[in-house]
Symmetry: D2
Subunit: 301 residues, 4 copies
């Protein structure tokens, strides 16, 4: 499969297309925004007028759109992928969406002989540019094997998780943990700093104890403690508060659909939503510490 | 200082006394329970009839009691340390308590010429037996230097955090993070398992991504994934749910006293309290997953 | 409009059909369960083989099904209402569902010339039997005026709230408050009873003060204080925990879709879900006090 | 008993003293702020130089101070009530504090032959001025009978709740419910308004349904719906956010001491604390809606 229909040309999609082109794929690119299609064309992609057209001219389809309804429209809407697809094609949805939607769309595609993979990513825009995304893939192992080379041009760590929808589940479970522990880290440091403890010493204790987590090691909400933290650069993302809120919303919905509670995930979701209302939506999610302390600046480590 | 008055001879205190004796200290041991004093005496300690007596016969005092009121009674109550102490002595409280209580007791001791350190520990009974506790110390640096050899017989990693009370603050900040992220881990795995994802693959993805934390690496609430997890041995502690609830209660109280919110810590506190009411109080705190799933057994990795 | 297609013949739907028949309407009744159709037929309704058939034989359609996907299937699925409906008909959905689904289905119906009302109810099975439901209606005022007589046979208090979807919004806002304040009441009484306060006196103080709410006045989670409380009859519903969990789930989803936080609603949702996992799902929602106290019986007032 | 030692001359204490004077009591007034004593003297009270002096010159003592440590200092500190009291006196603490502190102080007083009542109030400054406070009293019934006339000059609704501490328990249980349901009301109206529902209709539906509560009937967070709401006057209190936060903190602490969870109370506590950090501390507690919506103004009903 050397020709790809690529739908969704945002901050993530465009560099992913660039990496496909660099690896020798022909790309038929579509986006609801005409100017995004022009940008892809300038990179060397062939413009497509609809998802159906992109699908009809390619061997495989890749979608990278903002959320669940966008995926439904791209595949099942008027002039959607389903209208242009042929039996035997592979459709790879790399959006982060509700796994229930994944399975619903997948069933419709399968009825038309198209096999679907869900393949959400982590690594953000830098990872998309560098082709070093982590890609979590759900779907049939044989289909995964077919799609592996395509995914390998966009990501470094490509993991087959399980059946269709599993990629989405893995991503939202991970981000649930990341989102909750960031807030716990912010609370812990807020207590420690206000109690007068030296943040460097506190950080070192937590980092080597049972409180350690990714936020402590890689993206500490208090500046001056970990080199690459967003807090060192006024919370320039990194991973935006609004995206974390979205992923936690998916975690909550998944928990509800499975009939299990998700206490800390739900609380974290509401706190990131509140942070967004208070102007932090497009900052790194570690900026939630500013909501809690209600201050512009936080004491430096 | 080669003689120690040691007050509080529980599961932690007794092996700590044993290590002091092994290192050549004379120990005057007291506990409210006479049988605990007998156990210490059998190890080679000299029994004392009161904290005052233990303090009066020793150069330094160590306390290791359950909670804040116990510390107040041990130091300031009738026949307490203050009644037997002499100017120039050092008092080391190794209990995990409210830092406000630490400072209040410390001020009373200082008025009598006794200098206090707070030195709460992590590492549990195994660490106390092996003499490998992590000890977080608050107080005057010169007093810390004096007490360093004593602490070194009981712990491996002895850290001076800052002024009096800082040791307590550091410990409760760490345990706030540990307690919250354990619940988030339990929620994430509950979602993942019920959605049919292979726990081994899910664990590996989270461990190498932004969801990683101490619980994932060292004490996973799902059995079969991490060798030393309490979940592998029916949640035998480890660190008991009731103790985690207690430490989170201290974190909440500290946050309140400092005028800052502690959303995830408060929620985790209530969930561990509820777990305790549902029979999990004396199991490892990772057993909180059983409260969430309301099942005796959890799918094995 | 004297003939009604009625879809959804559960505990609520069957007595609603009985009241329509009693008022002289002809009813064409459908349910996915054949035995439910037989029960309606025994009451005097004409059995229908599909929603389409029920719609095609009637002037107006009423639906009363469990949740959002059921509404989508009943209206838009194969042999759904849309397949049998004619321009000029009125469709009244009395289910409690996501207002976003209401508006989506309504748009599809409108394109076919069918005008929709959402008309969720409160009052439970007793209200359905007695024809005394409260009915909260969203949709065009002229359509509301047309449907008013039909609704009046099923409910006593029929309120026009606003445009399509408003009825659902009003219901879930009300139940958000009802669900949260019930838990707060349970917490308050749990504290009071354990602190040794006489529940009758505590109840009287709260009832006449700022803590008063519907739960205190009408459905107190502690038995012996309010005559009609479910707690007096071992938490026989009344309004089931599982239904409250469902309505709070709709409130959370509505808040998320509107970009606003819903902290207490989300927490209450998870607590009712947890209560359900612990065996209280089909008891009255006031039984959540048993989750909190982890006891079978609660001290009597 | 016609002479009263009155300690604590704040916004509440001064009008309470005025009512005692008006009823013919002699009042020996003390406050840590000299200027407050001057204000009481200007009303006709005799200034006292310490709680001990106030107690020594009076038959009964009344205290009305901000929080638990203040009560401890007023009674047990240097020149405290205990230093000036005589056996047979009655001490009435009208502060809102931790019932555990009440019982601790009460035990010390009882050892000196002084009998204590706890008698926290609701009704705020207007109630204190008008002498129409609700007073919830804990303590021995015979002592209550003795103190009844004194309390009757300050309050209209004087209730004997139970043994010492019960008054505090009743008040914090009531305020737990009031504080939580206010937030739920704010969430419900935020959803309803953003969904475009007319607030007057929404208010009327909730007021007559299971979502009704004191906030809905008396102090609606949305302006224009209930005449006496603080929201109608830019959230001028009424009852301040900071005071609600304090009372919820007492509820949490009481729950913790009793070993029961207090989920919604804890969440509400943190939300009012966060509201305070965001500048709403001295506004009416219904202003918490501004934290949730992150806006200065809320749509008017």
């Amino acid at each position: 499969m050397k020709s790809i229909g690529f739908i969704g040309l945002g901050n993530m999609g465009l560099p992913m297309v660039a990496n496909l082109l660099k690896a020798g794929y022909r790309v038929h690119a579509y986006d609801v925004r005409r100017e995004a299609v022009d940008l892809a064309a300038a990179q060397g992609a062939a413009p497509a007028a609809s998802p159906a057209e992109a699908a009809s001219r390619a061997e495989a389809v890749v979608t990278m759109v903002p959320n669940s309804p966008d995926v439904e429209v791209a595949y099942l809407g008027p002039k959607g992928v389903l209208d242009g697809a042929r039996s035997g094609q592979v459709a790879i949805d790399m959006s982060t969406i509700d796994p229930a939607t994944t399975r619903r769309v997948g069933a419709r595609l399968e009825a038309a002989g198209v096999q679907m993979l869900d393949a959400p990513v982590s690594g953000g825009v830098p990872g998309a540019v560098a082709g070093t995304l982590t890609i979590m893939v759900g779907g049939d192992p044989a289909v995964f094997a077919q799609a592996r080379p395509i995914l390998g041009t966009m990501g470094k760590n490509v993991v087959h998780v399980g059946p269709l929808g599993s990629g989405e589940v893995a991503k939202i479970c991970n981000n649930l943990l990341a989102g909750v522990s960031m807030i716990a880290a912010a609370e812990a440091f807020t207590i420690g700093l206000r109690a007068g403890v030296d943040p460097k010493i506190l950080h070192e204790i937590i980092r080597t104890s049972s409180g350690n987590c990714w936020a402590i090691e890689n993206n500490c909400p208090v500046p001056g403690l970990v080199p690459k933290s967003a807090s060192n650069r006024d919370f320039t993302p990194g991973f935006m508060t609004d995206l974390m809120a979205k992923d936690l919303s998916l975690a909550r919905a998944a928990a509800r659909d499975l009939g299990v509670p998700c206490f800390t995930g739900a609380l974290a979701h509401d706190l990131y939503m509140l942070a967004s209302r208070h102007g932090l939506g497009r900052k790194d999610f570690s900026s939630v510490i500013q909501l809690l302390t209600a201050s512009e600046g936080v004491a430096t480590g």
